[in-house]
């Protein structure tokens, strides 16, 4: 049975709906990232799971027990806040031992557990330091240790790494993932950084405007986006609007493409990643090619980026430097869309708003 089930979880603030009926099953031991632009409702969803916001509708079930209305302090979930929320009047060790103190644990036991946890987050020997004397990265680790002090069933983190500089953030992403794997604890992280989500998550939940667009493993979200929002938000993509004119054939601006997965009729939206678009010199021929003119080109070292004008639309293509065709800006070329790389999405109008 699933560890955590979100069943139509909704949050309304007056006329504004922050989260629209979020439904999700999270199995035990999964690392889940709630990913989306700011204001998409991901933090509100996390806060409802933590018990810090009352849902306006829907249910929250853990191991078969309904906890929709359970107060936060009875849930026994560990949470790391964006501001870290370390208690300024306590030392690092006292911060970590706070939940044990609240439960009336003996002083010696509190101290032992704090030392254990500091060891776990690789920060031994700082137990007696006031939190104001710790660096950003050290505070981060203390906050993580405090949230894990009671070996919670669920580990929740709200943009935990946003205050760190880029290099430390990368290192902490890997470390957090390793820590989660070692403990096997079900973890939910809120982030707006897709790179962070791709690094850490078993399951990426892409949200926008209060709705879950897709919940899938990172590579599936990248390779098989559920709709235009996901395709566009995760990495770079080319979106082509088209119309099915015959079985397996779609008319797009600048030509026609032959694709196996097309619906029998109607409008479609195609998503093609820049690295999948193949650029050919003009004059060569082949299937699924459109002709255009090169408007801009830049050599990024590891790859070369082309911006090609095809029937008034800009197509972005990335190639390896050794595959670069002999063409200069203003020159004509043809671009190929391999059928396997074209993801067919529902047309724009059907996108949930």
């Amino acid at each position: 049975m699933s560890a955590l089930v979100l069943d139509g979880l909704t949050k309304r603030y007056g006329p504004v709906t922050a989260v629209h009926g979020a439904s999700l099953r999270i199995p035990h031991g999964q690392f889940v990232c709630l990913l989306g632009p700011s204001g998409c409702g991901k933090t509100t969803l996390l806060r409802m799971i933590a018990g810090l916001e009352d849902p306006s509708g829907g249910r929250l079930v853990i191991d078969g027990r309904d906890i929709t209305t359970a107060p936060a302090h009875t849930r026994e979930f560990g949470m790391v806040f964006q501001s870290l929320a370390l208690f300024p009047h306590l030392t690092a060790g006292e911060n970590i031992a706070y939940p044990l103190r609240i439960r009336g644990a003996a002083k010696a036991e509190q101290r032992k557990r704090a030392d254990e946890l500091l060891e776990l987050v690789r920060l031994p020997g700082v137990a007696d330091r006031p939190v104001s004397k710790l660096s950003g990265g050290q505070r981060q680790r203390v906050a993580i240790a405090r949230a894990l002090a009671l070996s919670p069933k669920l580990f929740l983190l709200d943009e935990p790494l946003s205050a760190l500089d880029a290099k430390l953030r990368e290192a902490m992403q890997i470390e957090l993932k390793q820590l989660q794997q070692r403990l096997g604890i079900t973890t939910i992280v809120v982030t707006h950084d897709q790179r962070e989500a791709m690094t850490m998550a078993d399951l990426v939940v892409v949200m926008s405007q209060g709705r879950i667009h897709q919940a899938a493993p990172p590579m599936e979200v990248y390779r098989q986006p559920a709709d235009a929002f996901v395709a566009d938000f995760i990495g770079m993509t080319n979106l082509l609007e088209g119309e099915v004119t015959a079985p397996g054939t779609a008319a797009v601006p600048g030509g026609t493409l032959h694709l196996p997965d097309l619906p029998p009729t109607g409008r479609v939206l195609l998503s093609v990643r820049p690295e999948d678009v193949i650029v050919h010199p003009v004059g060569t021929d082949g299937p699924n090619r459109l002709s255009g003119t090169l408007s801009f080109m830049r050599d990024l070292g590891a790859s070369v980026e082309f911006r090609i004008d095809v029937a008034g639309r800009e197509i972005v293509a990335l190639t390896r430097p050794q595959d670069r065709p002999p063409v200069s800006p203003g020159g004509a070329l043809s671009v190929e869309f391999p059928p396997a790389a074209c993801v067919v999405l529902p047309p724009m109008a059907e996108r949930p708003q």
């Binding site: 949470m79 501001s83 009047h89 609240i102 405090r146």
Partner: protein, 284 residues
């Protein structure tokens, strides 16, 4: 911003005027008062220059000791009650919407603008037998007949707390507004009920602010001299009332001056303590 000590006359100019005012209106009168406090009183007349400590010796009498300990006790009680009520109040206030906060603060400021005389008479009317709140209790059937609740110690305490409350809220407000609201939520996710989170996290995190505010309200209440006369009985008169009485009605300037010097020194010592507490909070 460049932070360095001002150099030369030009850079010191902005503080020259306030410094001058402080000398003219505080240092000089206070020095005169210290001088007068060691002068000798002329019975039936005024006083003449001398260097006697008889006025200070009178502090050792039981009467003075009684008034002094009552004044300190009353000020301590007012401070404890004001902070005890204002702290939870302000904690709720900073969580309200910006508009609601502004309306509350304007309301509190308008109370601060009331003169002590108006507050005193309003409370004595409110607690009187003929027009007071007990008439409302009688109408509601809670009481058999209207009573006079003033003058009494309770009336005096209510009046002083009422006067000190807006002041206390305004002193606590910045510290509480700056407090990370996630501290309380973090405590809740770690197993504290909201009430327990308030006492184990919010109050200790602001311990020094609370200490400093309590001392400020204490000093504020120590100086009150009108409300004890309007709302209290003679046994509720504070040191400030005694000073007024000696200076104006008994014409014993030297003794009044000695008491005033003493009161100023106690107040300054407590303000010093408050500043010390505030500084510790900043470095923490």
């Amino acid at each position: 911003m460049i932070r360095r000590a001002p150099r030369g006359l030009a850079e010191h100019a902005p503080i020259l005027f306030p410094a001058l005012m402080l000398v003219v209106f505080f240092v000089i009168p206070f020095s005169l008062m210290i001088a007068v406090s060691v002068f000798r009183r002329v019975p039936g007349g005024f006083y003449e220059p001398d260097l006697v400590f008889a006025n200070y010796e009178r502090f050792l009498t039981a009467f003075f000791g009684g008034v002094m300990s009552f004044s300190l006790g009353l000020a301590a009680l007012v401070a404890a009650l004001s902070v005890g009520i204002a702290f939870p109040f302000t904690y709720r206030l900073v969580k309200l919407s910006r508009g609601a906060q502004i309306r509350w603060l304007v309301f509190l400021l308008s109370i601060l603008s009331l003169s002590e005389v108006i507050i005193g008479f309003a409370w004595s009317t409110l607690l009187s037998r003929t027009a007071g709140i007990t008439n409302l209790f009688v109408a509601l059937g809670l009481m058999a007949e209207p009573q006079s609740l003033s003058p009494s110690f309770g009336a005096l305490l209510a009046g002083l707390v009422y006067q000190a409350f807006p002041y206390t809220v305004l002193v606590l407000y910045p510290a509480l507004a700056r407090l990370d609201p996630y501290l309380e939520e973090a405590a809740r996710t770690l197993g504290s009920s909201p009430l327990r989170a308030f006492f184990t996290v919010v109050v200790p995190a602001l311990r020094n602010t609370i200490v400093a505010t309590t001392i400020m309200v204490f000093v504020f209440a120590l100086g009150s001299y009108l409300l004890p006369q309007l709302l209290g009985r003679p046994q509720h008169w504070t040191l400030s009332v005694l000073i007024t009485d000696q200076a104006i009605y008994q014409s014993n300037m030297p003794f009044a001056a000695a008491m005033a010097v003493f009161l100023v020194l106690v107040s300054l010592a407590l303000v010093g303590l408050a500043l010390l507490a505030g500084r510790r909070e900043e470095t923490a």
